[in-house]
Amino acid sequence: MKHLRLAILAVPVFLATAAFAQNQVATLRNTAPLDQQGEATQIPGIVNTDIRQVRNYPDQPPLIPHKTDNYQVDLNSNKCLTCHSRTAVEVSQAPMISVTHFMNREGQTLGAVSPRRYFCTQCHVVQTNARPLVENEFVDVDKVIDYVKTQQGGAD
């Protein structure tokens, strides 16, 4: 009797394990067994074309189209601003940081970069040539507007 009870208890556990083994749920670590070291994927290269990327909505922070390896952005120095600051763009011909970076939280434009906009990579990021893990279903804002318009029967 005792053995039977144990066996009954063991059945769901066994079934679950078997099901899991069969499913091979793909995670970021892929299908490498837990007790083994998976093979490391190659580190993707950073897009370094210097060609400005499209923005998916008007207030998207522009992407960085170049490498920023080892750029020092700390309280001593800001490598990005050595090209993108207001006074540096004449020499560097880089796009100047937008006027929003000079605004404080009340929307008042200051003379220098607002401290809350100082750490560039909080918003601006580089892109890599990595293959997306999942399909990106993001829709551009224009398409959203078009869709809304068609739903409303063409009325504005």
Binding site: T49, S77, L81, T82, C83, S85, T87, A88, A112, P115
Partner: protein, 222 residues
């Protein structure tokens, strides 16, 4: 004292009475080789990374900062060590720099930068010495490896090619004008700004910015 010098001079002037001319000439030649060779060997020993990093001032500060940079670790495995950038390669200038370095021995003995805090305090001054040296010799130590004749700008990114064409090849700027902080972290550039407006990549973001960012983050602005 004067008598001693006179006596010394007298001994030196006196012709040798016991040693043959051949012995003295050959002896002088052999001893010359030994002393000169020894001097140069000792000089080369002080010109190695192992020697530089045998002091904690270098090992724990600047050497640690060098490690993640391209000059220490890169795809081809070619690597610059401390003296490649910080000691002139030709002999006269090297000796001149080594004589200057006696100041650094003084600093080591009296512990001028023997803690991290003291090092950070002096970092701007130390960096400015190196910037001034490289500005003055047209970035000679950079150019020992990076020659602009061999620099194929078509293999560079457009941004880099444009900058090199405009500033490097015209001789308007030298390597260090733009590439400060390439191998070590930069000091407080807000304090350095007054002296360094000309550089392309020199900070040009207004003197108040770093200070105001510090106070924004609730850090004391020193």
């Amino acid at each position: 004292m004067w008598n001693f010098l006179k006596r010394l001079w007298w001994i030196i002037r006196r012709p040798s009475a016991y040693f043959s001319l051949g012995f003295l000439t050959m002896g002088g030649f052999v001893m010359g080789i030994i002393f000169w060779g020894g001097f140069n060997t000792a000089l080369e020993v002080t010109n190695t990374e192992a020697f530089c990093t045998s002091c904690h001032e270098m090992r724990d500060n600047v050497f640690e900062e060098l490690k993640p940079t391209i000059h220490y670790s890169n795809s081809s495995g070619v690597r610059a060590s401390c003296p490649d950038c910080h000691v002139p390669h030709n002999w006269t200038n090297k000796i001149a720099r080594k004589m200057q370095a006696s100041k650094e021995v003084w600093g080591k003995i009296f512990g001028t930068i023997n803690t991290r805090e003291k090092f950070l305090e002096h970092r701007l001054e130390l960096a400015q010495h190196e910037w001034a040296r490289l500005e003055a010799n047209d970035s000679l130590e950079c150019r020992n490896c990076h020659s602009d004749e061999s620099m194929d700008i078509t293999r560079q990114s457009k941004r880099a090619a444009d900058a090199h064409e405009r500033f490097l090849f015209t001789g308007e700027k030298t390597c260090i004008s733009c590439h400060k902080g390439i191998a070590h972290q930069l000091p407080d550039m807000a304090a350095a700004e007054g002296e360094d407006h000309a550089g392309l990549l020199a900070p040009a973001h207004g003197e108040g910015l770093l200070a105001s960012t510090r106070s924004y983050l609730g850090l004391s602005s020193d």
